[in-house]
């Protein structure tokens, strides 16, 4: 489904050059629960961003369903982000001036869904993540765990095939973290491909494939 071929990410030039990713080769199949794991600064978030088409490699190619993503126009990439993938951030990244319900509606507004449909779907998704009593709350009125659940509902708004999650439990207490992981597991069981970044070894039990990264290089790929 997604394949990275000789992917490099290099920041700066000359003396200030830092290599974030070194010759990454990997393949992700539909339905997998992939965990990219490594210490902080190993390039795992950079790799996730590149796979999610939020960032571009310096060298190499990312293929989606056999097609070169470097040839995709900006609008085609926007369609990929909107319809095919959903992204969950460590810092939640909700829009602060919108309510929980409006935040979940946002991807559907961008996808030009009609108002009645998106209201109904946003409510259903917030209900699914256990926030039916928080529809009209603003992000600052919600706990971290609740904000992350809003972000999950938002990521699901347009029925994505793939969920990208960058340390989704990183800013949460352990109880909220487990809730979030259980939700991701459930989504994976429904057929959504999950690609997640973490530094926590204990989360590996959720994954079907673990990609271990160190200093920008893949050191091991474990399939379970």
């Amino acid at each position: 489904m997604i394949r990275a071929e000789n992917v490099w990410k290099i920041y700066g030039r000359g003396e200030a050059k830092t290599i974030a990713l070194k010759n990454i080769n990997l393949e992700i199949e539909e339905g997998e629960f992939v965990m990219i794991r490594g210490p902080s600064g190993c390039g795992k978030s950079t790799l996730l961003n590149i796979l999610a088409l939020l960032d571009v490699p310096t060298k190499g190619e990312v293929y989606y369903k056999g097609r070169k993503t470097s040839l995709m126009s900006e609008n085609k990439k926007a369609i990929f982000r909107r319809k095919i993938s959903g992204f969950i951030f460590q810092q939640f990244h909700l829009i602060k001036t919108l309510t929980a319900l409006e935040n979940v509606e946002l991807p559907m507004i961008l996808d030009e869904k009609d108002k009645y449909y998106r209201r109904k779907r946003a409510k259903k998704l917030l209900e699914m993540v256990g926030l039916e009593n928080r529809l009209n709350h603003y992000p600052h009125q919600l706990s971290g765990g609740q904000q992350q659940r809003v972000a999950i509902a938002r990521a699901l708004a347009n029925n994505p095939k793939i969920i990208f999650a960058d340390e989704p439990t990183g800013n949460l207490d352990s109880k909220s973290g487990i809730t979030v992981m259980e939700m991701l597991k459930e989504l994976n069981e429904k057929g959504i491909t999950i690609i997640m970044v973490t530094h926590e070894q204990e989360l590996e039990r959720y994954a079907s494939k673990i990609i271990k990264l160190r200093d920008g290089e893949i050191i091991e790929i474990v399939k379970k």
């Binding site: 609008n75 982000r81 909107r82 990244h93 909700l94 961008l110």
Partner: protein, 108 residues
């Protein structure tokens, strides 16, 4: 509402799959109406001030001092303030929309 916060919002919108034209539309409409709103407030204050001066002047015997407020002036001011809003929204939105979402989100 700082510029950095707005840049972050642009990054979020892009990550959610907004196209460049969506981002421009959102920010231009918003800043245009902010400009218009500012124009309306300025206009009200301006008219009140002018009329106030007129009243004071009349009381002091300067009957020639009259505040003259034409419809053209009102329309012109509102259109101009809307335009200033649109322009001040367009350029930052355009530069933000061009960046990749991760660069924009990093502005925290």
């Amino acid at each position: 509402m700082s510029i950095l916060e707005r840049r972050k919002d642009i990054g979020i919108l892009k990550a959610l799959g907004a196209e460049t034209t969506d981002i421009l539309a959102i920010f231009i409409i918003e800043s245009g109406f902010l400009g218009l709103f500012g124009g309306v407030i300025g206009l009200i204050l301006g008219i009140l001030l002018a009329k106030g001066i007129e009243i004071v002047a009349h009381k002091m015997g300067y009957l020639m001092v009259n505040a003259y407020i034409s419809y053209e002036l009102i329309v012109g001011i509102l259109a101009f303030s809307f335009l200033v809003g649109v322009i001040s929204g367009y350029f930052p939105a355009k530069s933000g929309a061009k960046l990749n979402p991760i660069e924009t989100l990093r502005g925290e």
